[in-house]
């Protein structure tokens, strides 16, 4: 990559006037016009702040503050950590060169100055710096956009006030935790009042993570409204959603799902699932995993789902979660939780905090998990008040 050096700013720090002039002459011939000078390290540091160079040509032996000290001072300052510093050194010795690198120098040029070598090394450092700043700017932009997308994804989920009002209406305790991974993820969940006695719960996880998975959650959000939940059994509803997702998802992309309807008059939870992690049902001290096997959504047009029914009376609970809960781990020497450990995990959380078991669950999960998360984490606690 050949870049124009005319935009580049170079600071020359040298106590010898002849050296300053000859260096300036060499780099001016290479097209660099913005050049500033300093006569020792202390002046050099000030000039870095005022002139904001893209590169420093630095002498080693100078009065007041030598080049090694100046370079070390620059490297202690986070702003100038990446500023290229080329030492000019008269000693072609291994030891001297090691000292320059140890002080934080990027490279060095030998004295007396050889114009060809000098320009080549200056150009190389400036090109590297330009690539670095371009990449850093690009990365900053992508991070801003991802943060924006994460916020949009959050806006698809039920907000606290709405959860509260649904909980009041049906005599429930509803709590949820949602955290997107370092990038973006494909988790989604929702709560759907169907009529005065029935409320629906949906949790969905698109395979993989990243922008593709996140876009799929937006797709899903528009599809959900297309299929009324009131008159369909959960298995039928999942079948309709499966067909719609099969139409839009390319091969290899799919979603796991759990859709359940809680009927308060019959104390019954009826659900169908498509390969979501096993939900946890707690009734009267008995805590167990529910069967959630089912062909994942969007993989085949012919998928069929099964309705399951369980008693969920007052005082009972249902705990839904995404696979991050059981697959993420690795901190403090602990592996992932794993599916089999979930009932005990829930039981001990209920014992620790009966009113808000999600709180100890979160604490215990984060104690064993490296951050940032590799995948989205969703956890939804649905309990019937006693």
């Amino acid at each position: 990559m050949a870049i124009s050096l005319s935009d580049s700013r170079v600071l020359i720090v040298d106590d010898n006037e002849f050296n300053r002039k000859s260096l300036a002459l060499v780099i001016r011939r290479a097209g660099i016009t913005q050049i500033a000078f300093a006569e020792n390290g202390a002046e050099g540091l000030k000039a870095v702040e005022s002139f904001r160079p893209d590169l420093v040509l630095l002498d080693v032996d100078m009065p007041v503050m030598n080049g090694l000290e100046m370079c070390e001072a620059l490297r202690r300052n986070a702003t100038h950590e990446q500023l290229p510093v080329l030492f000019q050194t008269a000693f072609d010795s291994d030891q001297e060169q090691v000292r320059c690198f140890e002080a934080g120098g990027s490279d060095f040029i030998s004295k007396p100055i050889k114009p060809g070598e000098c320009v080549a090394r200056v150009r190389h450092q400036l090109e590297k710096r330009k690539l670095f700043t371009d990449l850093a700017a690009y990365r900053a932009r992508v991070e801003r956009e991802l943060a924006h997308a994460r916020a949009m994804q959050h806006s698809l989920l039920p907000e606290g006030r709405r959860l509260q009002s649904v909980a009041e209406r049906y005599g429930l305790v509803l709590e949820a935790h949602f955290e997107t991974s370092s990038e973006l993820g494909g988790d989604f969940w929702g709560v759907y009042p169907l009529d005065d006695r029935r409320v629906g719960f949906l949790i969905i996880d698109f395979a993989g993570h990243g922008i593709t998975a996140a876009i799929n959650t937006f797709r899903l959000h528009t599809l959900i409204d297309r299929f009324p939940m009131q008159d369909a059994a959960p298995s039928q509803w999942l079948m309709q959603l499966n067909g719609a997702l099969k139409d839009v998802l390319p091969t290899g992309q799919f979603a796991t799902a759990f859709f359940g309807i809680l009927d308060l008059t019959t104390d019954t939870l009826t659900y169908a699932a498509a390969g979501s992690p096993n939900p946890v049902l707690g009734v009267g001290g008995d805590i167990r995993l529910l069967d959630s096997a089912g062909l994942v959504l969007g993989a085949s047009r012919h998928a069929r789902y099964t309705d399951h029914s369980h008693r969920l009376p007052r005082g009972g609970f249902l705990f839904l979660y995404s696979d991050a809960l059981i697959e993420c781990g690795g901190a403090n020497g602990l592996g992932p939780l794993g599916q089999d450990a979930v009932p005990d995990f829930v039981r001990s959380a209920v014992e620790a905090n009966r009113a808000h078991p999600l709180t100890p669950m979160k604490e215990r999960f984060y104690a064993r998990t490296h951050l940032p998360l590799r995948d989205d984490l969703t956890a939804v606690w649905i309990a019937r008040r006693a």
Partner: protein, 101 residues
Amino acid sequence: MEFRSRVEQDTVEVQLSGRLEFTDHDRLRDIVELLDGNGLRRFVLNLSALDFIDSAGLGMLLILQEEAEQRNIKLVVSGPRGDVKRSIDLAKINEIVTIEQ
């Protein structure tokens, strides 16, 4: 994930080991290329040495199934165990891909 392949007459057997997950997407292309062998009829994906598969990994099995179908090759996934078997069973991948124990 690591893989080794072995050709025997009209069959390719690919043995996967380690973890098959999101980050392995680039390796998938190398496995798909194995489907282009001459006179190939049967493609066996041996998972007996695979320790973990995530949802993206399951997606890769579905992609391989489609790629094999398009070439008229029979794909068989063999020997999944432990967590891998559990994930495959949970997602009912057997409704799309032939799984042999």
